[in-house]
Structure formats: C-alpha cells, structure tokens
Subunit: 481 residues, 2 copies
C-alpha cells in the first residue's frame, strides 16, 4: 500500500506541470502569489495560470480552463471561491489530472453546508482517480521538484519534512528552521484532510529519499488505526516528532472552527504516539529542537550522560537529565584520573565526578575538548552534554598562529566524538560570554554537533535522541521475532 | 529587623571605598580583573589595592595591608588563597571595616577541613561586627554605587535584582537580560552563605529603591523559616521569582560539591515558595521571561484571557493558557459584534469567539490594534495575548506618510491597553514573517508591552503576572484581617 500511495502522490510532490486555477493578476492575492513564488523558487516545470478573464499573468499565457491547456497537467492548485471548486475539480478530472492542492476554504470547518460541499468535492475526486491535499489549506513545498506553493520564497532545502494542520505554521517554521541551520525536504499544509490524510503523507515520506526526519503539528486525530499503521512503518526508519495542540477539552471549539478537527482524548493520542513510535514534544518549537539533533547527531546506545560544565550549569544540566529520565553516572577514580590526566584543575575544583566542573578556572579550548573526548571514550557514557565548550577559552597572549593550532586540535577532538566514537555531543551556547571562534564553530557544525540556547532545550534534544534510539531497538526486536 | 539588615548591608552595596585584598598586577587574574571592571564601570569611590609585593596596579597606589590605608574603608573584597583569608579578615576587623565580599573558594564546599576554616572566618566576622558575602562566590554588582565586582563590564542598569547560588550565572544572566531589554539593579553571587544568606539579601532588597523585581537561582535551602519570614515581607511589595536546581535527590552530590548546599526535599521547597509568595519557574531562563513581564506589564485583575491570532497559533495559545490555569472565555454575540465592527473579516473566517482568528486574511496593523483594544475594553477579559500584532500588516501600495499615520494610530490603541485600561498585553513575535515597523516596536516597548519568541514563553509570562496578582491580593487580605 505504501508504494502505491507513494506513486499516487508523485503528481503532487514531483509534478512536471502545474495549473493554477484561480490565477490572479492582482499582487498579494493567493492566485498571484503562488505563481510568483513558484517562479522565484525555481520550479522547473510548466506553469499554466487558469482564469477566464485574463490573458497574461506574470509573463505567462493564461487559459480559460484546464481543458484549454494543450499539454498534459500533473497538478492543479485551486484557489477559487468555495462554490466554484466542484466545477473546477470536475474539469480537472476530465483533463486527466491526477493530483490537486485545494487552497480554497469555506468547507467542513464552517458547518453543515460546507461539509456537504466538501463531501461533493471528495466524491468527484474519488470517482475521477484524483488525489488531493486540503481543502482549507495553505499549500505545499516539495524540495524534490523545487515546488513552492506555500512558504515565503527562498526556503532552505534540507532533510526535514513538516506536516501541519495549521497552514500559517509553514512560514513560521521555515524561518525558525533556517535560524537553526535546518532545511526542509517537504512542507504539507494538510487542511481539512478530506481526501489525503496524515497517514497518507507519512506513507509517502517513508519512501521520499530526501526526507530524513518528519515533524508534525497535529490538532485532531482521525482514523487513528490508519495513522498507527503508517506511523509504525515509518518510525522504524525515520524519526517522527509530534506536537499536539488542543490537549484541553475546553478548547475543542477552537480546533473545530479552525480545521474541523475533533481534538479527542489526549490520552488516546498519547497511546497512538507510543505504539506508533512517535516522539511527542510539549512545546511548539520543540519540534525543531528535536529535529535539529535527530537529523545531525549519532544515536546514543543508552541513556547515560557525561557532562562538562561550570558551576550552576552542571547542576541544572544534571538535574534536568534526571528529570527527563536520563542518567548521570558517577565515575570511578580510574576514569577520573584518565579524564584529567595532563590537565591542570584548580585546587579548589570539586573532584570531576561527572559532571566535570572546571569551577570557574581559566582553561583552553583544547583542555575542554580533551575532557569531552575522554568522557566519550568511557564505556559508561552514551552521550555528552557540555555547557561551555570553548566559550571560556583564554587565548590572550597567544599568537594568531598558536590560537589557530589550538582551535584546530580542539575541533579534531570534538569531531572524533560524533564521527569516530559515534556518540552524540550537544552543547549549550550560553550568553556569548567570550567571542567564539568561527573556524571552530564551523568544524563543530560540520561534525553534526548541535547547540541550544537553554539547558532545558539541550537536554530535551538529548532525551529525544535517547528516545528514538529506544524506538529503533524496539522495532528491530519486533521485526526479529 | 529588615531595616537593621538594610543598614548593615550599606557598606557592601553602597560603599564609598573598596579595598581589594589580593590585588594582582597580572591581567585575567581575579585580583586584577575586579579592579579593572570597577574602573571600567565607573565606580565613584576610592579603590585601594592590597598586596605586600606590588607598588602600583592599574594606576592605583598599592598598600601592603588594609591597616596601611590612611582613610576609612567601607568594603573589603578578598581574593586570596583559602588559608590566607582568616588573617586578612582579622586585619579588616581591626581596621573597622564593616562589610566584605569573600571571593576565595576552598571552604565548606571541599569537605571537613574547609568547613572548619569557614567556621573560623565566620567567627572572626561575627565577633568583629563585619558582615560578608560568600565565601566561594563570584562577587556582586550594585547599580546604586556603580559597583561591579562580578559581571562582564557594561552591565545594563535597571530594576531587576538577581541573587544566585551560582556565580557563573551572573555573567550569563546579565547578557541574557540585556538581550531581553532588561537591566539589573543588583547581582549577588551568594556562594556558601556562611554569614549573609538569601533571607538577608531579600530583606535588603525589600528596602532597595532601585529594585522592582527579584529573581533567585537556588540550589539548597537552609534556614527555611528565616527565608519564609523575609520572603513574606518582600513578596507582598515586589515579585520574587525562583528557580530551584537539584530537584532530584540523585544529583545531591553535585550541589554539595558546588556550594555545599543540601538540595533537600523538593516538596518542602515548594511549600516554602507557596507560603512565602514566591513565583516558581521550571526553566532557568524562565526567571528572566517572568521578570520581563513583571517589571513592565500592569497586573491583571483576573485570569481570563483575550487572544488575537491566526490559525494554529490561536489553538496553541488557548490550549497552553488552559494548561497553565488561565481561562479563555467565550464571548457573547454582542461582544463579538463590538469587536469586529467596521473591520472586514474574510467570509470564511470563523466567528470571533475568542481566540479572534483572522484566518490568514490580509489586514492592517490598525485593524489588529483595534481588535486588541476592543477586547481589552470587555469586562470579561483581564489580559491580552496576541501572536501577530502587526506582523502581517499589508502596507504595500501605501505612501510612507500613510503608513506612518497607520502605525502611529495602531501604537496609540495598543498603548491605551496597558496604560489606560491597565491590562497586560503580551505578544509572540514569531518568525519575523514580515519586516516589523521600528516606530511601532518602540511605541510598544515604551507602553510596557513585552514580546516572547515562543507561545509557551508568552503564556508562562502571563501566568506569572496572574499568579503575582493573586499573591498581592492574598497578602493584602491577610494584612486586612
């Protein structure tokens, strides 16, 4: 079934030609903006604006209907008034179009009359063998086809797919993702899900080679069993991270008027997540925080953390680890000696019991990197969290050449952690107390070392890695049986 | 007692002269850095470096001991090796110095021997009528005296006092505060609290006219009853926000070696917070998030929120409000009509039931400000949260003059909410989808409207305002009895 869905969605996510039904010559209107954005973001296929009253829009020849277009059309994007949609879709079916994105709103989310219209549209599509996204959605973005029907122009391309029951989150997330150095493989504003639903999209993304991580904003759950099946098939291969809004029954009226979603029992949703192997986050941008780590860091073999830090942050990091189910093992005397060998700890510093605390003493980037690298070599450490890698590095009195040498050596030791030892290293970049070293930062990024602005975000990201490693093991075991 | 403590701490927080015992000629050393920072941040009193081996440090005459200084000294800052501290403090007492900051570490946090030394130092001070901060601390900052013994130079001055059991958080927080447009009235690295403790600092800050909000980073609780008494005396007048680390018993070894603190039972601490009227936050920078709102926004009369937003963010905001104990009341038909009168809502937009949802339609900054202003006029709304004030404002096709007019009108309507109606308005500045308007942003800041980068941070800040309003009412009632 998965591969059949994947084939059915090719015209939508990898179209060679797109008709924009409801194309407009008026700037800022949907039917104009979509074409402009497609042009700006370099869609390589043909674009056919459809509008009975215009001749040319944004330099393109306009057709009165899809039936007038001489060439085959893969995808129809429909941005018409609600009552015009059934006829337009009927014409699409007659033209042999197999995929559509229904931007138009005014359907089930508005009440009984709208629901009847939505049912009619769905019937037309089903009978005509056409699959569609929406209605009441804000379009899609597909990196595979350089197709942007939804997001602000200039979307950074990458490996994260985002399925959202809120269209406005598309733009917000693509900016926030860029800020975190993440790119998108796909964005889907799911809208009312009259035809295609979350489960279908998951099945498609399982086969999409560009997608490595899936994040979902969910308001309501329909067809829980179908979602569970699709989720299970995907989550063993790629991490799926979910944020669910409408957890409180008293806000049901809000989700209902937004996407005609029934929020449902939160614990039912939680059970679906657990069984499907989804990682559930409790903050909106927790989706991107988790995706950052899951798309770049190696998976830990267990949940035992080695921590390097200074003072209070050692306490906060260790405490937050334990609160989130991670462990912070005490080290043996032999391990401690190994870790601090040839590093001068200040006499008043506590024993490096893990967390290893430099206790406010000056030290170099290289010394910090050494400690982290050695922590990573211990069998009883599965992942590393550090609050100050290299931020306190005192390089005054050194020549530029000496500094460069020191930073390259530090960068090599850090890269070894993620790339040779295959253990995740997550850092907390706090307060910018000391100017950072550009070369070192780049080297850390290249090594997949992810940084967060708060200790809680860092530990939550590590917990997501641990959780996904557990999910992978569980699915592998179930397969093995 | 409060006023007596306040008087006793004058030499520490408003000294006219400071001796730096353990002054150093070597850059980056504590005994050098402190003097340099005092000079850079414009301390107006006399500075006396103390070091038997130097003649001049940073342009200042050096004395072999405090007893050689001809003029009176208010405050001694001691940055010596542990074992040298008792003798230095004895000399301070003989010189008649009444206040000290003990930077030196190596005391109770290192074990039995250190504890004995700490007890000796405390005895010397008690017998000599000298009060001290620390030991094992990273100094203080006092805006009242332009005295910076602790933070990176250039601390923004303001109304937030920060008491911390971790010294390294001083620098991190002063940067983070600046990023949020907040300034500090005071920073106290409390260290081991051998003499002065959290309760004493709270008593002092209650009387400090510069301090409007107090934030605390706490690892361990000692003298719970004393803290409770001081807290109660303060919290009715100024908000006190607390983050407690070391919540999990298994990290006790970390706090113990850090500040010799016993983390204690978390529920005991929670009970103290509730009785004292402290606002407890569960994330480190939640301290600053709450302080931002509490130092600038008016207090709400109740917990009923009016929300303006778009799509999914309406759901997330309303849902998060309910999760945090706030209410999102449904509006009457009459109220709805009042709110949207003369504003064109798109036909497919849901009824403005609260949250008011513009459903992706273009609208101007003025329309958004109007809706918020009218929501604020309703009796059943105590506070406002808006996810997109003015970010989606479409001003294309307008002259610069027209735009200016529109933005000023919007700014006036928004300022009226906080300043005339005295209701808090908190915004979520998401993703920078549309370039913001500088004049409008400034006007909003001037009106005390606070913005956050995530919906959860915004709602948590509003919940802190609601919580503090409740605390104020409770204390007023208790007084009234």
């Amino acid at each position: 079934m998965d591969q059949s869905i994947s084939r059915q969605l090719q015209p939508i996510f990898r179209p060679r030609s797109v008709a924009v039904i409801g194309a407009s010559a008026v700037p800022m209107k949907w039917g104009n903006d979509i074409i402009l954005t497609m042009q700006q973001d370099g869609f390589r296929g043909a674009i056919y604006p459809i509008n009975p009253k215009e001749k040319e829009i944004l330099g393109l020849k306009v057709y009165p209907s899809v039936l007038h277009v001489p060439d085959p059309i893969d995808l129809a994007v429909i941005a018409l008034r609600t009552e015009q949609v059934p006829r337009a879709l009927t014409e699409c079916v007659r033209k042999g179009i197999k995929g559509a994105v229904l931007i138009s709103a005014g359907f089930a989310e508005t009440g009984e009359k709208g629901r009847a219209l939505q049912d009619e549209v769905t019937r037309i599509a089903r009978e005509g063998g056409l699959r569609f996204v929406g209605p009441n959605c804000m379009g899609i973005f597909s990196a595979a086809a350089d197709l942007n029907l939804s997001l602000p122009p200039g979307v950074p391309k990458g490996s994260v797919a985002f399925i959202s029951q809120s269209g406005t989150f598309g733009g917000i997330f693509s900016r926030e993702a860029a800020r975190r150095g993440l790119g998108l493989s796909c964005f889907i504003s799911a809208g009312n899900q009259a035809d295609l639903d979350l489960a279908d999209y998951l099945a498609y993304l399982a086969e999409d080679p560009l997608t490595q991580v899936v994040v979902m904003y969910v308001e309501g759950l329909k067809q829980g069993r179908k979602l569970l099946t699709a989720g299970k098939a995907l989550a063993g291969r790629k991490p799926v991270i979910v944020y669910k809004a409408g957890r409180n029954p008293s806000v049901a009226r809000v989700t209902l008027s937004h996407t005609a979603s029934m929020a449902g029992e939160d614990r039912v949703f939680d059970a679906v997540c657990r069984q499907a192997g989804f990682i559930r986050v409790d903050e909106l941008f927790g989706l991107l925080d988790a995706a950052s780590a899951l798309s770049r860091e190696p998976l830990p073999r267990g949940k035992r953390m080695g921590i390097l830090g200074t003072g209070g942050l050692c306490v906060v990091l260790a405490d937050t680890c334990v609160s989130l189910g991670l462990e912070v093992p005490e080290l043996t005397r032999k391990d401690m000696e190994f870790i601090v060998s040839d590093i001068a700890f200040p006499p008043h510093a506590p024993a490096p019991i893990n967390p290893v605390d430099f206790a406010g003493a000056n030290r170099t980037a290289l010394e910090e990197a050494k400690v982290l690298n050695r922590l990573a070599q211990l069998d009883e450490v599965d992942g590393l969290i550090s609050n100050t890698p290299l931020t306190f590095a005192d390089t005054s009195g050194q020549s530029a050449e000496e500094q460069e040498k020191l930073f390259s050596a530090a960068a090599r030791l850090l890269a070894e952690i993620t790339q040779t030892f295959k253990k995740p290293l997550i850092t907390v970049g706090l307060g910018d107390l000391v100017p950072s070293h550009e070369g070192l930062e780049k080297a850390m990024q290249a090594a997949g070392i992810v940084s967060y602005a708060s200790p809680e975000a860092a530990v939550k990201a590590m917990a997501a890695l641990v959780r996904y490693a557990e999910i992978r093991r569980r699915f592998a075991e179930e397969k093995g049986k």
